[in-house]
């Protein structure tokens, strides 16, 4: 486990990303989709932080804000680079391109994430080229090196994406992220579009690369079993809010937030097949344009009391290094796995 006293590589403070959209057919009015609302997390160098949540929980938006594909609405993202603190959220122009070398992204869909009109060499070499890190022969050498490391062959370099399977395409996407030697990699559901038998290849590859290059991962996924396999710590998001954050094993066996409990109960488990009904959380996630004033999980929470509807539960520390956003965290005995 990473040393907690060490200064974190990445710190996110009160991050907000609101998207404006208009609503209503007759009277158009501007409303805000609060995709990410007031999220604070820190990531230690060399660790893997898993971010789980369902669609609309804001996990992808958070990842894209951190890798600066989106400009956050408010809040601060800082990254420690060579002992200096870099304010990522305020970067622009040259400094932003410099930051691109430190943080890279792996996408979910291996089909849409590769330009069908560019060869492997062109795709993987693009980050080097546009950042003026290498060109010509040097670029080709570096690309060859990384492409072989992700499990492709040298003769693949001049092929186009259409000749590769989903798993191989994902390897190309990983090579593109790794070619600039980033410190932080945001992997957004990197295996969920792949076949079961291919997922393990990619997960193992990501782990091997992490060991070799001392990478820090932000691993976004909806699949609890995958997150459990790769993460040191897990952050659970719900309706744009961070509801719980803690070390993997602790969070799984001893969840502190009712939503985490519901999420864990929902995961199909082979050992459960003979048992009868499982605990199912009723209802559906709330409308992000019209969130309840109190805790966002109240409508689906079976433990909710009056306080929960009235007052928003701030994220607070519980235990040594766990955080939870629930008024009742201490008094509930929730079931894990």
């Amino acid at each position: 486990m990473t040393n907690q006293t060490q200064l974190p590589l990445l710190e996110v403070q009160e991050l907000r990303k609101w998207f404006q959209m208009s609503k209503g057919l007759l009277q158009r009015q501007a409303v805000f989709v609060k995709a990410v609302d007031d999220v604070s997390i820190h990531v230690q160098a060399g660790e893997t932080l898993g971010i789980v949540g369902e669609s609309g929980s804001g996990k992808t938006t958070l990842g894209r804000c951190i890798s600066r594909l989106y400009q956050p609405t408010s809040g601060q993202i800082t990254m420690r680079v060579n002992g200096e603190v870099l304010d990522v959220s305020a970067l622009s122009g040259k400094e932003l391109s410099a930051f691109r070398k430190r943080a890279q992204m792996i996408f979910q869909d291996p089909y849409s994430s590769l330009n069908p009109r560019m060869t492997v060499l062109e795709t993987v070499g693009e980050p080097l080229l546009v950042n003026h890190l290498a060109k010509g022969k040097e670029l080709e050498e570096r690309v060859t090196e990384i492409v072989v490391q992700v499990g492709l062959r040298v003769e693949h370099l001049r092929r186009y994406p259409h000749s590769f399977s989903g798993g191989q395409r994902q390897r190309i996407g990983i090579a593109r992220a790794m070619v600039v030697n980033p410190q932080l990699v945001v992997a957004d559901e990197p295996v969920s579009a792949l076949d079961v038998s291919i997922q393990a290849q990619i997960l193992n590859l990501l782990q091997d690369l992490q060991e070799r290059y001392d990478l820090t991962y932000l691993f976004i996924s909806h699949a609890m079993n995958v997150v459990r396999y790769v993460s040191d710590r897990i952050a659970v998001m719900y309706a744009g809010k961070l509801v719980e954050l803690g070390p993997t094993q602790e969070l799984l066996s001893n969840p502190k937030h009712p939503y985490s409990e519901a999420l864990l109960a929902s995961v199909p488990k082979p050992s459960q097949r003979k048992r009868g009904m499982r605990l199912v959380s009723p209802g559906e996630p709330p409308d992000l344009t019209n969130l309840p004033t109190g805790c966002v999980f109240v409508p689906r929470c079976k433990y909710a009391v009056d306080q929960c509807t009235e007052q928003f539960p701030e994220l607070r520390k519980i235990g040594t290094n766990a955080y939870v956003s629930c008024h009742l965290a201490e008094s509930l005995a929730l079931q894990g796995i």
């Binding site: 079961v196 193992n204 699949a223 929902s266 995961v267 199909p268 459960q272």
Partner: protein, 340 residues
């Protein structure tokens, strides 16, 4: 398998469904045989391209044609009259794909739900009208009013809140989970004896998936239907089925009771699948991936189709002789030369 006590509903024998494409012939389903028994559930596991969906489509005769065609085999369907008494055996493959007979089987005898409910529901009609439509098609003596009442009742049973109000909703007004519930209501409105579920929860969120799975299980028990559950997710299939069929490139590799498949898998492919999926419980071990990737669907292999990726392959044997599906223990069938 205790299945023999129940009567047979569908018997598929040596089904072959091929796709004739410009680039070559894809043997999507290549000699698949199995039976579905009344009230019991059969799970089908497989990766993309293994033929699990095409098998289901062949049973409903909805394989896109051209390029697809059922070239060989039998799908015998036992149609029971209401209230028991043996009625007739129909070979679905002999029916015209758009004929009256198969249309009376679809929806009435077999209900089907899909991965993406939005494509199965028409955006132009209310959910209630679409469900009532199914009643009016299959039951001539039902009045419009009765059909609507039945639709409302069914919507309530599948857990849609305020069915009286939402019966008049259009599909786009419902969330993904609610749409899937509406689709289930539509599939079940005529009381089919078999429900085919083709990855019905893949597009849904984890907590919603759990709701739908529980709903299907509950409805299966209360309505006494048989269930054919198709998915790539091992844990989900394990939870839903009495017996499981593992498919790979158009072949059934292993077919056994759910317990046997999980506790005593025999085929190297099944074993490899188990080792390559991260578990949510138990000890964390490094995954052992299945090497390589799926071979080209156009390639024809003389021997076992899993040969190129198998960790227990016997060169010179497995790539020369095609294995057959053999019953190696009571109710446990494997297609592998290790057991021949």
């Amino acid at each position: 398998m205790a299945a023999s006590e129940n009567s047979v509903l569908v018997e598929v024998q040596d089904l072959k469904t091929y796709f004739f494409l410009h680039e070559g012939t894809v043997k999507a389903v290549d000699g698949v045989s199995f039976s579905i028994y009344e009230g019991r559930s059969l799970g089908v596991i497989g990766e993309s391209g293994c033929g699990k969906s095409v098998t289901a489509q062949s049973m409903m005769r909805i394989v896109p044609s051209p390029p697809g065609r059922e070239v060989d085999g039998k799908i015998e369907m036992y149609l029971w009259e209401n209230g028991g008494g043996f009625a007739e055996v129909v070979d679905v493959l002999q029916l015209k794909p758009s004929g009256a007979k198969i249309r009376s089987i679809r929806g009435k005898q077999i209900g089907m739900i899909f991965q993406e409910p939005m494509t199965a529901l028409s955006p132009l009609h209310t959910v209630g009208n679409q469900i009532a439509e199914a009643v009016l098609i299959h039951e001539q003596d039902a009045s419009k009013h009765q059909a609507r009442e039945r639709a409302i009742d069914m919507l309530g049973r599948v857990g849609i809140p305020q069915p009286h109000r939402l019966v008049d909703a259009y599909p786009h007004q419902l969330s993904g989970g609610m749409r899937q519930r509406a689709l289930i209501a539509m599939a079940l409105i005529c009381g089919p004896s078999l429900l085919i579920a083709d990855e019905p929860t893949t597009a849904l969120d984890v907590t919603i998936e759990a709701q739908i799975l529980e709903l299907i299980k509950e409805l299966q028990t209360s309505l006494g239907m048989a269930l054919m559950y198709i998915s790539h997710d091992l844990a989900v299939v394990g939870e839903m089925s009495d017996e499981i069929m593992v498919m790979y490139l158009g072949h059934v590799m292993e077919h056994a009771s759910t317990d046997d498949i999980f506790d005593n898998p025999l085929h190297p492919y099944t074993l490899a699948l188990w080792r390559s999926v991260p578990s949510i419980e138990g000890k964390l071990e490094r995954l052992i991936p299945i090497s390589g990737s799926l071979p080209s669907p156009f390639a024809s292999q003389p021997g076992c189709r899993f040969f190129s990726r198998c960790d227990r392959r016997m060169p010179g044997v497995c790539d020369a002789t095609p294995p057959s599906l053999k019953e190696v223990a009571p109710g446990h069938k494997v297609r592998c030369l290790l057991y021949e």
